[in-house]
């Protein structure tokens, strides 16, 4: 019977093409708008490193201008550390299992052969970064402690970069030219794209690609390779020092700092350690504001950084309301459409169709409209996400409508149509079978 009902549904839709198209479009628009905003929301609010997000902590120390308003939460404190504080923590024996200070910088990559040079973003960090964040290696391994201490000219490439420069071959032991210096490749990492990119997540960068080149922090500072991310300062630098030294010793914040703390006790001990560190620094005249240190694990940090922006939440809610309006509208259109079905229903009832059979037949039609609405909605959602991609730079990875999302969209539309259709379909099935004869 099902295939018969599908055939009848198609014939019925052909009979009222405008009405059917309107219903499909209404559902499609509703689904499309909702899926677009929801996909963005869903990807923004995803856990970038689920198995470890509870033990990785971003560190904040409140070294800011004493004249600024008081600190009430982590959101009021700079999300980055000064070079000095990060270095002090890296060199100390803290309770953390691992720590990594890091920053982003820009280089010009000069390929071998005839390919033209190009700009590339580089992450300068410590070898602990790779184990701490469970970065998967394709070839080689992280550089060593000694490389960090020795300011070694070593590099780790991302898979894409390795594909581009070395055709995907094992490039460990070969070298890459960054600006005017050669770096020996010690490892190639596999596809690794935490989403959002939690470890450096000012909102304009939270959805940017992970870097494709990593080098030791100490080597980058030697460069000197300046930071390409935000650098915030509240106090003039010391003029008596050479420019670079002045910058490094300044109260300017420009490095990100992460610690791996495996247990709550370890986290508490680390927090105490930070508090003591700030107290010591106060004695030498720094940290003029009241004592404020914060450690935030990944989910907490995504909140602090407002990675899921409030306007996106509002938009998702609004588009869900819009979707409901579309569904309601579809109910109206279905009522209008089914009003015209009295004749056929009465005829089928007279020929032996039970109420149940009429109900099923029309439910199949409604389901089909929903299915088509879902497909239209998916296409619209795809276009919508393309538009989001073009509107906001750094959102490239949001645009991937994965199969789960696709299936969800189509199921949601079909379900919505069926729910919208239940009442009209029920009404149709209750139409009196005697309708036909009586109108004569």
């Amino acid at each position: 019977m099902f295939s018969y009902y599908v055939r009848l549904a198609l014939a019925s839709m052909k009979r009222t093409p405008v009405l059917s198209a309107l219903m499909i479009l209404a559902l499609g628009l509703g689904i499309g708008a909702f899926m677009t905003t929801f996909t963005v929301y869903y990807l923004m609010s995803g856990d970038p490193i689920p198995h470890k997000s509870g033990v990785l902590y971003a560190v904040q120390l409140d070294n800011w201008d004493p004249n600024e308003p008081p600190t009430e939460s982590a959101k009021d404190v700079q999300p980055q550390l000064t070079y000095r504080d990060g270095q002090n923590l890296m060199n100390a024996d803290t309770p953390a299992k691992r720590q990594a200070q890091m920053y982003a910088t820009n280089v010009v990559v000069v390929p071998e052969g005839d390919d033209p040079p190009f700009d590339e973003s580089v992450r300068a960090t410590y070898q602990t970064f790779f184990d701490m964040f469970d970065v998967p290696f394709l070839y080689g391994q992280p550089w060593t402690d000694l490389d960090d201490e020795g300011h070694a000219s070593v590099a780790i490439l991302g898979r894409e970069m390795n594909d581009q420069l070395f055709n995907g071959e094992n490039s460990v032991g070969r070298s890459i030219r960054l600006d005017d210096n050669y770096f020996e490749i010690v490892g190639v990492i596999d596809d690794w794209q935490p989403m959002p990119r939690f470890y450096h997540s000012d909102w304009s960068r939270a959805f940017a690609d992970a870097e494709q080149i990593f080098i030791p922090f100490s080597r980058a500072v030697d460069g000197p390779m300046g930071p390409s991310g935000n650098t915030n300062c509240w106090k003039p630098m010391d003029d008596s020092l050479p420019a670079i030294e002045g910058f490094l010793q300044s109260e300017c914040v420009w490095t990100q700092f992460w610690a791996e703390l495996e247990t709550p006790e370890q986290a508490a001990a680390y927090k105490d350690y930070l508090d003591n560190y700030v107290r010591e620094q106060k004695e030498i005249g720094r940290f003029e504001r009241p004592l404020n240190t914060f450690i935030s694990n990944v989910p907490e940090w995504m909140e602090v950084m407002e990675v899921v922006r409030n306007d996106n939440r509002v938009l998702t809610r609004l588009s869900f309301l819009f979707f409901l309006v579309c569904v309601l509208n579809t109910v109206g259109l279905l009522m209008a459409k089914f009003l015209g079905k009295g004749g056929e229903v009465a005829l089928r009832r007279a020929m032996g169709a039970s109420r149940g059979a009429v109900f099923s037949q029309n439910l199949v039609e409604v389901g089909l409209i929903g299915l088509l609405g879902g497909l239209v909605g998916t296409v619209l959602a795809w276009l919508g996400l393309r538009a989001v991609e073009n509107l906001y730079r750094g959102y490239q990875h949001l645009v991937q409508l994965d199969p789960v999302m696709l299936a969800t969209a189509v199921c949601l539309a079909t379900l919505a149509a069926i729910i919208a259709g239940l009442y009209p379909v029920w009404r149709v099935s209750q139409l009196p079978p005697a309708g036909l004869l009586k109108t004569q």
Partner: protein, 240 residues
Amino acid sequence: MLKMSNISKVYRTELVETHALRELDLHVEEGEFVAVTGPSGSGKTTFLNIAGLLESPSSGVYELDGEDVSQRNDKHRSRVRNEKIGFIFQSFNLIPDLSLADNVDVPLRYRGWSGQKRRKVIGEMLDLVGLGSRKDYLPSQLSGGQQQRVAIARALAGKPRFLLADEPTGNLDSEMASVVMNLLESINDEGTTIVMVTHDPDLAHRASRNIHILDGRASDLGSTGPANVTPLPERGVARV
């Protein structure tokens, strides 16, 4: 075959109560061809609807093949309609966007027959009404008489023993009406019981028995001959 005792049907609307049938008693034997006449608004269609299980009487007992069907549930009544009863309407009522074959197929689908059996029956039925070569036509491509013949093929497809026709020739010219009437007569000859509502005295004469309904009550005019039938003036009754 059909036995109605004390059947009444009352339609209640906010303003009026219409007694469409009043304590109607009537029976039809297997194999009869009964013509039902009566002025407009006298309750003929209501009678036919109750006979065809499309409506339930307000009171009284209706037995079909010895079974009291008036109070059975929708599913059972639908099955009885499907298996035992065929309907022919004045205005053909073919589904416009289905082919002739698909129109004839409608009652067969609810019977649950296999595709093979359905195709065979559809072919036979359309052959019977002389439209076997046009099974893929749409109803709009046929004349009124041809459409009514398709409707008859549809009514007969499920091999019902009981055929109900509400003014089947009302929308046809006399030539077409006669073709349709011949068809009904031959069906009756094969054993199908027919109850036909008609305004046309000539057609009524061709039935084996005439029943006249007036103000919701039936009177049996017995087997027919021209002398038995007095054409009654149409009463102008406002429909509620």
